[in-house]
């Protein structure tokens, strides 16, 4: 087990912005498929797949995406991910910051916290996500020394309205 995963170079990168992504316009079909997956095997609520129903019965005046919907899956406005970027997985944060990643072998999703502003994602919206490295910490675990990486992600829509601020913790070991 190493004494630490956190190098001086990694420590110096804390606070850095490592990602600025813009989504493709959200489609109704994107929302329908998301709702089908997260409510499976039950049918998703009608407000996520029936535009007429959503327009006449929901307080949103039409279809809105579930709060946890991810408009960045598969491809952003920058196009499909490069072959080189595929498989980077756990080391994406460090590589984007120009830092050598830790030599960990496994990763887990440690936790998430989110603040929603009340601005919802709708069909046609283009979402921007700006992600920063907030902190590194570590502690021993049953599988070895665990590295905790906290990032913060701020999402805005095409009008500059803030949708959410989300923090995520990635555990590597």
């Amino acid at each position: 087990m190493p004494d630490t995963w956190i190098t001086d170079e990694m420590r110096a990168a804390i606070g850095g912005q490592h990602s600025d992504r813009t989504s493709m316009p959200i489609s109704v079909s994107d929302i329908r498929k998301w709702a089908q997956a997260v409510y499976y095997p039950e049918a998703p609520p009608r407000e996520y797949w029936d535009e007429e129903f959503a327009a006449t019965t929901s307080s949103s005046g039409g279809i809105v995406a579930p709060e946890e919907f991810n408009p960045f899956a598969w491809m952003t406005a920058a196009g499909p991910p490069s072959r080189e970027s595929l498989g980077q997985g756990a080391s994406t944060t460090e590589r984007r910051l120009g830092v050598a990643p830790p030599a960990t072998s496994n990763m887990l999703n440690g936790g998430i916290s989110v603040e929603y502003t009340g601005v919802r994602m709708r069909p046609g919206d283009v979402i921007r996500s700006v992600t920063s490295l907030v902190d590194y910490s570590e502690r021993p675990g049953r599988l070895g020394l665990m590295l905790f990486t906290t990032t913060e992600d701020r999402w805005t829509n095409q009008d500059g309205e803030l949708i959410k601020i989300q923090r995520a913790v990635l555990i590597r070991y």
């Binding site: 997956a37 609520p45 946890e68 997985g89 989110v114 929603y116 049953r142």
Partner: protein
């Protein structure tokens, strides 16, 4: 809607396994070996492939949305720690209980403990949430 401290929300219950995980992977582009391959899951210290934390996260949202349906209420904050993973054939329940209620600017602000658990009561992802429900 009656909201008082100690009220338990109707749980959101789903079966864990590849049928659910593959569908979620398809919409979230989350084809990570630990969620698809028993060998990769065992290499990570589990008995086999295991479910996504992000899917438990989605179930917590579903739980809160179903409770808020028809109230014009909204989720304000949500957080959780992923302490254990769901494994194949687990029954995962997202649950919540009201811990505090207050009125603020025409809204009822409700604090809740939120979590996912499996059938033996083991909590997978404990957390908390705040929702706001219009009072008029």
């Amino acid at each position: 809607m009656d909201v008082e401290v100690g009220r338990e929300l109707p749980p959101f219950v789903r079966e864990a396994g590849f049928e659910a995980w593959n569908r979620y992977a398809a919409v979230n582009d989350e084809f990570v070996p630990i969620h698809m391959d028993d060998t990769a899951g065992r290499a990570a210290g589990y008995s086999g492939a295991f479910g996504m934390g992000n899917l438990q996260w989605a179930y917590m949202h579903c739980l809160l949305r179903e409770w808020l349906a028809g109230t014009n209420g909204r989720i304000v904050t949500l957080n959780c720690q992923f302490r254990q993973a769901s494994e194949q054939h687990h029954t995962v329940s997202a649950k919540a209980v009201v811990t505090a209620v207050r009125e603020e600017d025409g809204e009822r602000i409700v604090e809740l403990d939120v979590w996912t658990e499996i059938e033996d009561g083991t909590k997978l992802a404990p957390g908390s949430a705040t929702v706001a429900i219009p009072t008029t």
